[in-house]
């Protein structure tokens, strides 16, 4: 395709309305400079959308209008053919430094780009906005308005919508800092209203976007399953005299915890990269469960299965005794830990608070012939907790718009996540998890592969639900 024939869309507007932010979110490019100070963008910058190396459409970020009134006056006074108007304006003003930004933003329009006119709907409409709209109307190019409300204020929205509808082919609400994947796709789809001729190209782009998204989900599910497999199948055996058993147990547990943290972080980074986040690193606020230690009491309190669900899971796993003891210690412990293995031999008092998180309990540590053996993990709750943490992270990553840069604000305002997702899973999904857990403990390669594939299917289903939006839904209801 000839570069000049590539459908282009110039993102145009008043300074500091969030043009770059819209583009950053739309193009999933967090390298675009976005700032609350007006005038961050000083030159037009292209963002091509390529499929297999072929450029299909192009978005162009532009500086804001600097002289809307004078520009409008010049265009209104133009006597020549309309199609030459913008070119003539550029020629007349290209050497005037005061009009540098106006020329930079109108150059793509003069070259035939469609216009995405971005306004901040959380502020009042002013004469200067009407002047800018009129400039675009006079230019005669296909155009669409995007109301990007930077704040929660909605008083002025009707005013904006009324004014924009008079001048633009389509008007869309799009919050560049809150937009989800689905909203991005919808915005792309609405570009058709600008120019019907680009429908085939746009369809292809949207299909590719959706395929790409599904591929990311497949890879994310595989990454999460790989994490579970590595963490749950962890096994180690070290020489140990009976008198140093306690000391060695503690050291092994610390080593294991370090390993899990590292592996979890590695999985998170992979998922982050999959969704093209370079700056955003989910530095969660202190009260977030995601920022808690995986083995902290709070994490185990909020994530994973509920006590009742665990009892059922334990029964299904055949640890009937453990379930009984667990049920007997309700209220005084993290009753969640109805350990599947390693419960036998432990007294009812061993189920109190912190002891439930001990290496002995979690990793089924045992001393045999002067060797201390640890792993695989004996508590299925760890699987659910890791799953919940992975799903929460996924939810944060896909819902963090690329144009959003108020990372500090997130730290200040984010609330604890509360419960995870797995608690709301139905029996069928939980059965898949238990099958996976059993396969890991049995160490049967073929069985693990099959169970992992099934689990990935469940995860992708959950991903789709998260992508569709809304809080975790309760699948466990009858």
């Amino acid at each position: 395709m000839n570069p000049r024939d590539i459908p282009s869309f110039a993102v145009i507007g008043h300074p500091n309305e969030g043009k770059s932010s819209v583009l950053s979110t739309l193009a999933e490019d967090d390298s675009v400079r976005v700032s609350p100070i007006p005038g961050e963008t000083v030159t037009a910058q292209s963002f091509p959308v390529r499929i297999d190396g072929e450029e299909l459409i192009r978005f162009i970020d532009t500086p804001g209008f600097q002289n809307p009134h004078q520009t409008l006056q010049w265009l209104q006074a133009w006597q020549g053919p309309v199609e030459e108007m913008l070119a003539a304006f550029l020629k007349a003003h290209r050497d005037n430094p005061d009009f540098h930004d106006d020329c930079a933003l109108l150059a793509p329009v003069a070259a035939g780009a469609g216009v995405l006119f971005v306004v901040d709907g959380s502020r009042p409409l002013r004469q200067v906005d009407l002047a800018e709209m009129e400039i675009l109307r006079l230019s005669g190019v296909p155009r669409m308005a995007v109301i990007n409300s930077k704040e929660e204020e909605s008083t002025w929205l009707p005013q904006w919508q009324g004014a924009l509808r008079r001048t633009f082919n389509a008007v869309r609400l799009f919050n560049s800092c809150r937009a989800t994947y689905r909203q991005r796709i919808e915005l792309l789809e609405s570009l058709r209203s600008i120019d019907q001729e680009i429908e085939p190209v746009l369809r292809r782009v949207i299909d590719t976007f959706e395929e790409d998204w599904e591929l990311r989900n497949i890879l994310a599910a595989a990454e999460l399953t790989g994490l579970l497999r590595d963490v749950l199948s962890y096994r180690r055996s070290v020489e140990c005299a009976r008198e140093e058993e306690a000391q060695k147990q503690e050291a092994l547990l610390r080593e294991y915890q370090g390993y899990v943290s590292e592996r979890e972080e590695q999985a998170r980074q992979s998922i982050r990269r999959l969704f093209k986040h370079n700056i955003f690193n989910l530095e969660m606020p202190p009260q977030s469960i995601l920022s808690e230690d995986l083995f902290s009491g709070r994490t185990w309190e909020f994530l994973g299965l509920s006590r009742r669900q665990l009892i059922v899971a334990g029964a299904m796993g055949g640890a009937a005794l453990g379930v009984g003891i667990d049920a007997a210690t309700i209220g005084s412990s993290f009753g969640l830990f109805s350990a599947v293995g390693g419960l036998i031999g432990a007294g009812a008092t061993a189920f109190r608070g912190r002891q439930a998180l001990s290496g002995l309990r979690l990793l089924g540590m045992k001393l045999a012939r002067d060797r201390l053996q640890v792993g695989p993990v004996s508590n299925i709750q760890l699987l659910y907790i890791l799953l919940d943490r992975g799903l929460l992270f996924y939810s944060h990553v896909i819902n963090w718009a690329h144009g959003r840069r108020d990372y500090e604000r997130l730290r200040e305002t984010a609330r604890p996540e509360g419960q995870g997702f797995t608690r709301f899973w139905d029996t069928e999904r939980r059965r898949v998890c238990e099958a996976f857990f059993r396969a890991i403990r049995k160490e049967g390669e073929g069985e693990i592969e099959d169970a992992a594939t099934t689990l990935q299917g469940v995860l992708r289903e959950q991903f789709r639900e998260i992508t569709a939006g809304g809080p975790p839904t309760d699948h466990s209801a009858p």
Binding site: G39, N67, H69, V128
Partner: protein
């Protein structure tokens, strides 16, 4: 009290205003303090109309400065910047004078080394110690006379100096080139910060004159020292050793021609006897190597030194003395000019002249505060200063005309219906609102400057313009162009204040501006480099 302004006063005043800025004293507190100082100065005197007569603003502020100086402690007064400035300048002048003297002594001492084989060359002495200096003087005088016409906004106070006449345009070109290269580099915040810093330097360009004149005077002190050194060394050589002056030329110059030239040079002191060689003496002091010195008459050889000394006095020392006097005059004139033109001084004057409206409820039995009586005779200045804070006053004292009509309030046309000028005037600081009803006018950027030009033609051009602006609207280039145009319509030193309001509320559009947005406006406006253009949030956030 002293009514004149010296450089040290300006330095102290700048220091006091800077101190207020650094301490972030609220505008209303400054207004109260300065108004109270004003009332204390008038001492409750009233004319027949019941109003207290006020001196011109510069005199008023000069007295304000005296009071502020008194308010600081004895120890702090010794370290006030003005005092330090004076001492540093004095040391510099002494150093230059001494350096010049030493240079003159050494240079002439080396030149007048006479061995008795050949007389000292009068032409070389004249060229080195007189003609060269005189040439420099002429050049300097020429440059001082050829002043560049001043341009609004780009007007440089330093442009009146010889150095800046040449360096100014070069410097400006270099800055423009640098600016073009830097444009677009860095984040918007970094660029805004950089432009604001450059603008702040330009805003203070008037103050650079404070340095230029002392530097000029130092140079003259150096020149005077040099001439005194030359004279002293020459006279010492003549008195305490044996020297002989003669003239030489390979050309067959007629002695008459040389004599005529000498007469012309000696014309300024021709009324003094025996201060220029006669034709016979000139003819007799011509030295030819092949004939040797022995054939020349000693009296002829000694006839040159009074001429040379007088030439040093008239063509070297006297011009330097004239330039010194000019420098001292220039320094004083600059201080006087700055006392009228510095934005800080104008702000203080406005605060002093603006009556404070006080509508607080009176406590039971309390009477309205009485005007403060003047300090009793004989009370020490320090004692008077300890009486602060001054009793508050509401006595009607008219504002001294700062040279124009009452302030003009420019309201964007689209806001005019929702913004009654009276409501706005009530929120404005007293020194900006004034006493008279605000003259208001609606404007649009789309309409350009022509309607305003016509408005100013019909009414008197105001000395203070208040421009209402919504802070959440980012400052655009066209706003900047409008402000530049507005400055072109107004007096170069008329105050323009951009009054910022916030987003419209349900009941009023006069809401507090967001501090971050106000800061952006502040920096953008500062980048324009106009010392009389400022930003003021209407309602403190």
């Amino acid at each position: 009290m002293n009514k004149t302004w010296r450089t040290t006063d300006i330095v102290d005043l700048l220091a006091f205003t800077r101190l207020d800025e650094e301490n972030a004293v609220r505008e209303e507190d400054l207004a109260r303090r300065d108004r109270n100082i004003c009332l204390r100065l008038t001492g409750g005197r009233k004319d027949q109309a019941g109003q207290a007569p006020l001196p011109p603003p510069e005199t008023l502020v000069r007295r304000w400065l005296d009071i502020r100086r008194q308010e600081v402690g004895e120890e702090e007064r010794k370290t006030l910047p003005g005092r330090l400035w004076r001492e540093v300048i004095l040391i510099c002048r002494c150093l230059f004078l001494g350096g010049g003297l030493l240079t003159g002594l050494l240079a002439v001492g080396a030149f007048l080394a006479y061995s008795g084989k050949a007389p000292l060359n009068v032409s070389a002495y004249f060229a080195l110690f007189i003609a060269f200096q005189f040439l420099l003087f002429c050049l300097q005088a020429l440059l001082l006379l050829a002043r560049r016409p001043r341009l609004p906004m780009l007007e440089s106070a330093a442009g009146s100096s010889a150095l800046c006449l040449f360096l100014g345009p070069l410097l400006l070109k270099a800055i423009h080139r640098l600016w073009k290269r830097l444009r677009g580099q860095g984040t918007a915040a970094a660029r805004l910060d950089r432009d604001a810093r450059i603008g702040a330097l330009r805003q203070h360009r008037e103050e650079t004159r404070l340095i230029l004149w002392p530097a000029f005077i130092c140079l003259q002190a150096g020149g005077i020292g040099f001439n005194l050194g030359v004279l002293a060394a020459t006279l010492a050589k003549v008195i305490f050793s044996d020297v002989a002056f003669g003239w030489q030329s390979s050309l067959q110059l007629a002695p008459e021609l040389v004599a005529r030239l000498v007469r012309w040079i000696a014309l300024p002191w021709s009324w003094l006897p025996h201060t220029a060689p006669s034709q016979e003496q000139i003819e007799g002091s011509r030295f030819l190597f092949k004939e040797g010195i022995a054939s020349l008459n000693s009296e002829h050889l000694l006839s040159w030194w009074p001429f040379l000394c007088m030439a040093v006095c008239v063509y070297g020392l006297l011009p330097r003395l004239l330039l010194l006097a000019f420098g001292i005059w220039g320094e004083r004139r600059t201080a006087e000019q700055l006392s009228r033109n510095l934005p800080g001084i104008r702000r203080i004057a406005r605060r002093m002249q603006s009556p404070r409206l006080d509508t607080r409820a009176m406590t039971d039995g309390a009477a309205p505060a009485a005007p403060p009586s003047p300090p009793p005779p004989g009370s020490s200045e320090k004692g008077a200063s300890k009486a602060a804070p001054f009793p508050e006053q509401t006595a009607p004292i008219p504002r001294t005309d700062l040279g124009g009509a009452s302030p003009l309030l420019l309201i964007p046309e689209e806001l005019a219906a929702d913004c009654p000028p009276e409501a706005l005037a009530r929120l404005l600081p007293a020194h900006l609102a004034g006493e008279a009803p605000l003259l208001s006018h609606a404007y649009t950027l789309a309409g350009g400057l022509d309607p305003l030009r016509r408005f100013f033609e019909e009414k008197a051009s105001p000395q203070e313009v208040l421009l209402l602006q919504e802070a959440w609207q980012p400052p655009l280039k066209e706003t900047e162009i409008f402000l530049r145009g507005l400055r072109g319509l107004l007096d170069l030193r008329a105050g323009i204040t951009i009054v910022l309001i916030g987003r419209p509320g349900p009941a009023t559009i006069l809401t507090p501006a967001d501090p971050e947005q106000a800061r952006i406006w502040q920096q953008k406006v500062q980048a324009l480099g106009d010392p009389f253009l400022s930003v003021l949030p209407l309602i403190p956030a």
